[in-house]
């Protein structure tokens, strides 16, 4: 996927004036946060579970190699195959190879952000293989040649109107705005694909080391059909999703559903453990797990290690006032919101993604709701450190900072600077108590007045009072 993060500011301006998008974002704001709050309040041990989950994730990351190898051993023992892929390109080629071996023409897909990350759909299309998204949101996006704006509700930036238009255009049926009718239409279209697909590709919410199982959590059931009907099931997962035991998995399932959608439990929690065994009534003949690193192992031992705790619940973006204002596509790559502002620079480079970790007031709401207590503002600040170290921040910012810091480190001079700024601001405001325009402060005064100082500086007055 093309990285459009350098256009963040321009995209934000457009997003803020897009009435349809703003309507869609209004629905998000009214929905998920309230549901999460209710679900959290109904579980007395919710906060304790968050602590447990944080600690367990820290333990897993410290021993990532051991748990991944255990996972591989058990997948193999079950008759499946694990493929280790260091880069996105490795992963794409591995998946293509599996599809080619099956002579696949059509692959069905369950929702998977990792396949978005590695740009799988575009790649398969170029190789003559048709990927069919089966998650309703992803299906709508595919019809529109659009990309997810949210990691759990990928089409959250669209309104019912948009969906009605897309279905009418592609399904060649009378236009309907009835969600039930639209759902039925999508079902009919997808059923044929489910049956004809040669390979089914899903993501994984967790990988369970002790059993070699993978699990997907969905609310539509499309994932089940994707992974049981075709002859071959390919699970594409990033490496940090491994957990030691099934019991550990349940801890995360309890947190995931509540944090994501405010459900107590996701509707379908489907475990896959190897291919069909003799006597099994269904299941795929071949079972592959493609483990994607794509920069994650570099995060181990770095200042960004804590980001590997992320379970992709979307609570951070659901509660983020910046995400709520501009929507996910403004972020210009796969992962939006606070978690994306930490992950995107890691994956596409801070040179391209520098605007993202800066697009935060550090209000801290994301950290407050993160089920695994990732200190997202701190991690975004670490990216700003990197940006500054590499001299990537704009020259005006760097020189401005240096100028200001020169004074801030010299209290006597700082007094003079404060006093003269104070005097200047009072002059500009006259007797109105505020200014509506100020040189070099257009970012402020385009949208709001600047209150004038109410008198001389405190330090001046304090000294005059001789205290």
């Amino acid at each position: 996927m093309q990285v459009r993060s350098p256009e963040f500011k321009e995209s934000a301006r457009i997003a803020l004036t897009d009435a349809n998008l703003q309507k869609a974002l209004g629905n998000l704001k009214a929905g998920f946060p309230a549901k999460r709050a209710t679900a959290a309040a109904r579980l007395p041990e919710f906060e304790a579970l968050r602590d447990q989950a944080r600690d367990l994730k820290n333990h897993i990351i410290e021993h990532l190699d051991l748990y991944l190898e255990e996972f591989e051993r058990n997948v193999t023992a079950n008759g499946g195959t694990v493929h280790w892929c260091r880069t996105a390109e490795d992963a794409r080629q591995t998946i293509l190879q599996i599809c080619r071996e099956q002579g696949a023409k059509t692959v069905t897909k369950g929702k998977s952000m990792v396949t978005e990350e590695i740009g799988l759909n575009e790649y398969l299309e170029k190789q003559g293989i048709e990927p069919v998204e089966t998650d309703l949101g992803e299906y709508i996006l595919q019809l529109r040649q659009d990309h997810p704006s949210h990691i759990v509700a990928p089409a959250i930036h669209l309104t019912l109107d948009d969906v009605a238009d897309a279905f009418h255009e592609h399904h060649k049926r009378p236009r309907s705005e009835d969600p039930a009718v639209l759902m039925q239409e999508a079902r009919e279209m997808l059923r044929k694909k489910f049956v004809s697909a040669d390979v089914g590709i899903t993501g994984a919410n967790f990988l369970i080391a002790e059993t070699g199982s993978t699990i997907i959590c969905t609310n539509e059931g499309n994932g089940d059909l994707t992974q049981t009907l075709p002859k071959t099931h390919v699970v594409v997962s990033s490496i940090e999703k491994v957990v030691p035991t099934l019991e550990d998995m349940t801890l995360f399932l309890r947190l995931l559903a509540r944090s994501a959608t405010g459900q107590e439990f996701t509707v379908y929690n489907t475990l896959s453990t190897g291919p069909r065994r003799p006597g099994d009534t269904d299941g795929p003949e071949n079972f592959h797990v493609v483990l994607v690193d794509n920069g994650r192992s570099e995060m181990v031992g770095s200042e960004f290690q804590e980001m590997l705790r992320c379970i992709r619940c979307s609570a951070c973006m659901n509660h983020c006032p910046v995400y709520g204002a501009v929507g996910g596509q403004t972020y210009g790559w796969v992962y939006p919101g606070p978690m994306g502002s930490v992950l995107t620079p890691q994956m596409v480079g801070i040179e391209q993604a520098g605007l993202l970790p800066n697009a935060s007031t550090f209000c801290g709401k994301c950290e407050e709701v993160c089920p695994v207590r990732i200190p997202l503002p701190k991690l975004m600040r670490h990216w700003r450190d990197k940006e500054y170290e590499k001299h990537l921040s704009p020259a005006a910012v760097r020189y401005g900072l240096k100028f200001w810091a020169f004074f801030a480190k010299r209290p006597g001079l700082y007094r003079l600077l404060s006093a003269s700024s104070n005097r200047f601001l009072r002059l500009m405001a006259g007797k109105k108590g505020r200014a509506t325009r100020l040189p070099l402060a257009g970012g402020w005064t385009d949208h709001r007045d600047i209150p004038a100082p109410s008198g001389k500086t405190f330090m001046q007055q304090w000294q005059e009072q001789n205290r």
Partner: protein
């Protein structure tokens, strides 16, 4: 002989110093009322947050060392801002654990308090007299709320004032869009956030908007003025200290 009063070093904050000296004077008045000997160390400048949040660790650490020195020897360090005091609490992150400055930073952190949380604990007066009579609505500034747990304290102090009624706004805990340099780096997004905030403030029909951080208050007051909303804005200590003779934030001098 009476016990010497414990010494508080007032962390003035840049914005109170430059924009609203009343906030610092009100802080002194309240701290003295609570029985402290209040001093204003002259070697203090800024807490360093602009550098810290822009990735300039080196200048931040220099400023931190200067601040630690300036407030050496005070039993308490108190400031009228959750954001600036929150920054003082970040100082230990700036030094390696074997650096002597790390221990000194930890020590400063243990003595540094946001003013409303400090007063809620130390101000023993059960009733606070004040000229202000009316309804107020309170914005919870993010750093104070989430880094220092400031939520009930200002409301508890206001409840000691017989003439003050609190009328809570919707989304009082949602960021106003100030965010330090954020508001000038991302003016369009900041504008959306402060517009949402002003809508929620307006809906309360309160007489006065209060908060504990001047950055947020300048932002919200500036937007209230631009939109022609009549609701005034002040730092909470101005009301608590009964220092409301000065025009509210962004208001003109009253003609006598």
């Amino acid at each position: 002989m009476a016990q010497p009063r414990p010494r508080v070093g007032l962390f003035v904050t840049c914005l109170a110093d430059m924009f609203r000296p009343e906030v610092a004077f009100a802080s002194v008045k309240l701290l003295e009322l609570a029985g402290f000997d209040v001093k204003v160390p002259q070697r203090q400048t800024c807490c360093g947050q602009p550098a810290f949040n822009s990735g300039d660790r080196e200048d931040t650490a220099d400023i931190a060392r200067q601040t630690i020195d300036a407030f050496d020897g005070f039993e308490y360090v108190v400031g009228p801002s959750g954001s600036c005091i929150g920054m003082l609490h970040h100082y230990p992150e700036l030094f390696e654990e074997n650096d002597p400055w790390y221990q000194r930073a930890l020590n400063l952190k243990s003595r540094a308090f946001e003013i409303t949380s400090f007063l809620a604990e130390h101000l023993k007066q059960e009733t606070l007299e004040g000229a202000f009579k009316g309804t107020v609505t309170y914005h919870d500034s993010c750093s104070g709320l989430r880094e220092l747990g400031v939520k009930k304290q200002p409301r508890e102090l206001l409840s000691r004032m017989p003439g003050v009624q609190i009328c809570e706004m919707e989304e009082a805990e949602t960021c106003c869009g100030f965010g330090g340099t954020f508001c000038v780096k991302y003016p369009d997004i900041s504008n959306r956030m402060v517009s949402n905030k002003v809508e929620n403030i307006r809906a309360t029909n309160a007489d006065l908007l209060l908060g504990g951080d001047l950055g947020c208050l300048l932002n919200m007051a500036g937007k209230l003025k631009r939109e022609g909303v009549e609701i005034e804005a002040r730092h909470v200590v101005e009301v608590l200290a009964d220092m409301i003779q000065t025009p509210a934030i962004g208001d003109a001098e009253q003609s006598a």
